[in-house]
Assembly symmetry: C2
Homo-oligomer: 207 residues x 2
């Protein structure tokens, strides 16, 4: 498992010419880093007298951020798997017409799977972003910069995932699938850049 | 060393209430992920006939991205160390006037060191950003989405580092130090959000 390797080894494998990990894995990792930072702010708020009146809210936020962190780590591993399938399909023989048809069918199937994973990463990153404003507003003010970093990482994860959806869609022939996924992605991206900047400004004001 | 730990353990320690790692470490990691992705695009371009006329440019970009990746991993470790010093100083006794004065002096010294590290992270992230446009323009077009993810991670690292500079500056009493560092930070941030969006749009056009 890639996420069981040391951080430096992950970076080495990322920097190499090996097909995976790549930008898709980084999108999932970025979202997971954002979720972990939301959890950190929650953990620095729980049990603190000064924040007694928000303990229930913070517990609910922590439970969501931890579920999203787990999901994003799983999606990181899934991204490597689906990308490996695309690479395998690309290397299939294409001499005869039968081989060409089999390769195209395998490629199209693998590309659809490789689109679904970053789309789920994008969805999870949006959910992490939704936790950042409440945690910046209600969480331990000494850790407010961490809530700011959380939203930056979640939004970078969202847009990174979007690039990985788009690069796969460019090769997919099923026009209905492409249209549906483009619409879904546009809806996920809508307003998120301003949301990130608003939360960043809110954090800077509280510093 | 934190970066020798598995990715999942890094995330666990980040999510915990332990003082470090925190947002400062994530800023450095985000920059290192961006640098590693620049290297990946370079490695997928070197030795390819189609890109024969840019081999020299790509080699120069790779040498810069690898140096920045190394620097950012070192800064990640340095951030944990300087933050630990701030935590230690905060826990110093403050009953007598002498103790209070000693604690304040230790705090101010530790806060200045804790400001320098994210400032260096911010500088390195800007340098990573500078590599993203040439690598998106000249590198292997099949990996252009990775150049896009690189700029998103480097810019998120820059702004995350900025939040960590600002949270430390808020506690520093040396007004000249604060003014100088604020000016330096503003210069680093200037125009980088539009630069990120321009490179992102360039990547989307090439998908």
């Amino acid at each position: 498992m890639l996420t069981e390797k040391p951080v430096t080894v992950f970076l080495d494998e990322l920097a190499s010419s090996a097909p995976a990990p790549g930008g898709g894995s980084v999108a999932a990792l970025s979202g997971a880093l954002g979720a972990a930072l939301v959890s950190m702010v929650c953990n620095l708020t729980l049990g603190k007298k000064k924040y007694a009146n928000v303990q229930g809210d913070i517990e609910a936020l922590l439970s969501q951020s931890e579920a999203l962190r787990k999901e994003l780590v799983e999606l990181l591993e899934a991204d490597v798997q689906v990308y490996t399938e695309v690479s395998k399909a690309m290397k299939m023989p294409r001499t005869t017409e039968e081989e060409k048809a089999a390769r195209t069918a395998a490629m199209q199937k693998a590309l659809k799977a490789a689109t679904e994973v970053p789309m789920r990463v994008a969805e999870a990153c949006v959910k992490v972003m939704d936790l950042c404003r409440p945690v910046a507003e209600k969480g331990n003010v000494n850790a407010v910069s961490d809530a700011g970093v959380a939203v930056l990482m979640a939004e970078a994860g969202l847009r990174s995932a979007a690039l990985n959806v788009l690069i796969n869609l460019a090769w997919i022939k099923d026009e209905a699938f492409v249209a549906e996924n483009r619409a879904k992605l546009d809806a996920l991206l809508e307003g998120k850049a301003s949301m990130r900047d608003e939360i960043y400004d809110l954090v800077v004001e509280k510093l």
